[in-house]
């Protein structure tokens, strides 16, 4: 696995760039990743989501604007962006206006650490996994800002829920992800098992290193419990169904989003959808072997897996109801936390025996 900069350097046949060129190349890489993410979010949030939900619910959905309704995307974007920015009376103005920008920025920045494969990775620090998870949790802060500054009781309740939820699922999220790190060190034979590219690289061989096994060494198979726990934790962390309590359409109107409209709403909405894809990207990198797959380029496989995660999330959204706040918290603190630690200990124990 190589970063985008290495790939470009190799293409030009140079050993190393000067810092300025390095920066410029990184910027180009960031633009490429950012565009991919924004395109995917645009397609999925505006068009694909409707189509998928309609399909699940025996309906037709958008099909008027352009072929198969695809032009609904520019139409919706135009509609939302041309709306007046309404700032309600009595809000904490600075925080109210800053929150959407922060929300979108935080989640898009987080994609820098994702190894899309085919050399497409903007940054690959030694502690990539920790960085990525830190950015994942950063998303809670703009929501708190938005909810608190809105001066609306529904928004207030929404952000309260978000805080409780984010804290409850932070530890399970990190610890369940950590359970794969010993495996990375073992299979990848590396000193920096937190590096995202190493995590992907460690999943390339056959399952558990047994030669001839047709199943790849994806940590989904090697660490199924961690995968399940991580999946639940990431749903809760990004408040997707069945854990979408901060928004809770039928209870809190729209939670922290209630007072937002126009471009501010677009940014918050975008952050929310980008977060699902970020969750998908993390899950793909940690448990689905990153871009590994036959025939197609690694980056394409990565995007396919990421999209599959999104489909599963939407499918769940249509099928399962929202849990209650006390159920959510008791699941987080009483079960998830213990199970994740148990799984970590188990992994360590097994590896200790094996080694």
């Amino acid at each position: 696995m190589v970063t985008f900069n290495d790939a470009v350097a190799e293409f030009f046949g140079v050993e190393e760039f000067s810092p300025l060129v390095e920066f410029a190349v990184a910027l180009v890489g960031a633009v490429i990743v950012g565009s991919i993410i924004l395109t995917i979010v645009g397609v999925s949030a505006v068009w694909f989501k409707r189509k998928l939900n309609a399909r699940l619910g025996d309906r037709i959905a958008v099909n008027r604007v352009g072929p198969a309704g695809l032009f609904i995307m520019p139409a919706d974007a135009l509609k939302l962006l041309s709306k007046e920015v309404v700032v309600p009376e009595g809000v904490d103005r600075a925080s109210y206006l800053l929150a959407p920008i922060l929300a979108a920025a935080a989640v898009i920045a987080a994609f820098a650490f994702i190894p899309f494969g085919s050399g497409l990775q903007v940054a690959d620090p030694e502690t990539g996994l920790i960085f990525a998870l830190a950015f994942a949790s950063l998303g809670a802060i703009p929501i708190v800002m938005a909810g608190y500054s809105s001066k609306n009781k529904y928004s207030f309740l929404g952000f309260e829920r978000e805080v409780a939820q984010a804290i409850a699922y932070e530890i399970p999220l990190v610890v369940s992800a950590l359970a794969i790190v010993p495996l990375v060190a073992y299979f990848g034979d590396t000193d920096t098992p937190l590096r995202m590219s190493e995590i992907v690289a460690a999943q390339q061989g056959p399952l558990l290193g047994i030669e001839g096994l047709p199943v790849p060494n994806w940590f989904l198979f090697a660490q199924p419990i961690a995968a399940a726990l991580f999946f639940v934790a990431i749903l809760a962390e990004f408040s997707r169904n069945p854990f979408d309590l901060p928004e809770a359409g039928s209870e809190l109107v729209a939670g922290y989003l209630t007072e937002y409209g126009g471009v501010n709403f677009v940014l918050l909405f975008l952050a929310e959808f980008a977060a699902i894809f970020f969750g998908g990207a993390l899950f793909t990198a940690l448990f689905l072997g990153g871009g590994s797959g036959p025939f197609l380029p690694a980056a394409v496989w990565f995007l396919i897996k990421m999209f599959a995660f999104y489909v599963v999330v939407q499918w769940l959204r249509a099928t399962v109801p929202r849990v209650r706040i006390d159920q959510l918290l008791s699941l987080g603190w009483k079960y998830m936390l213990e199970l994740t630690f148990l799984n970590l200990l188990l992994t360590a124990g097994v590896l200790w025996v094996v080694l």
Partner: protein, 158 residues
């Protein structure tokens, strides 16, 4: 968790089947029963100005004005106020007023929905069309005997 997985299975089954129950409305017209009660058709040539419809109308949608000799002068119908209960058609002894299958009604102001007898003859969907046609095959049940069918002349045709 089995229940959740089963539920997911049910939804997946629906998604794969791909049946839809919604209708692409203006392109594909929804199911409209022959008995549907839509906008009114009024026949000036049949009306005998007995004012039964005006009397039975529960909310005063129909407004009839006659002269001293009890000959009809005005027949006003406020479609915006009508509740489409079909009582006027039910009591009419000569089938002069009938509710058609037409339901696409729009207007910019309330006043535009107040139809006079000229309007009621002139509305496009009345022209050259027998509003009872849609009521086949139980048309007899609606207009009585078969002989009456021959008497029928679509308003606006002349």
């Amino acid at each position: 968790m089995m229940g959740v997985l089963k539920s997911l299975g049910v939804t997946a089954k629906h998604a794969i089947k791909g049946d839809t129950f919604t209708v692409e409305y203006p392109d594909e017209s929804p199911h409209i029963s022959p008995r549907f009660r839509g906008s009114h058709k009024f026949s000036l040539s049949r009306c005998i100005w007995c004012r039964m419809c005006e009397e039975v109308c529960p909310n005063g949608t129909i407004d009839i004005k006659t002269n001293q000799q009890r000959e009809g002068e005005e027949y006003n119908l406020n479609l915006g106020q009508c509740i489409y209960c079909r009582l006027c058609e039910e009591v009419c002894p000569v089938d002069a007023i009938i509710l058609t299958q037409h339901f696409e009604l729009n207007a910019g102001t309330k006043a535009e929905l107040e139809y006079t007898k000229e309007d009621l003859m002139d509305v496009p969907w009345y022209k050259g069309m027998d509003p009872l046609e849609a009521r086949e095959p139980d048309r007899g049940a609606w207009i009585g005997t078969d002989e009456e069918e021959e008497v029928w002349e679509p308003a606006g045709a002349d």
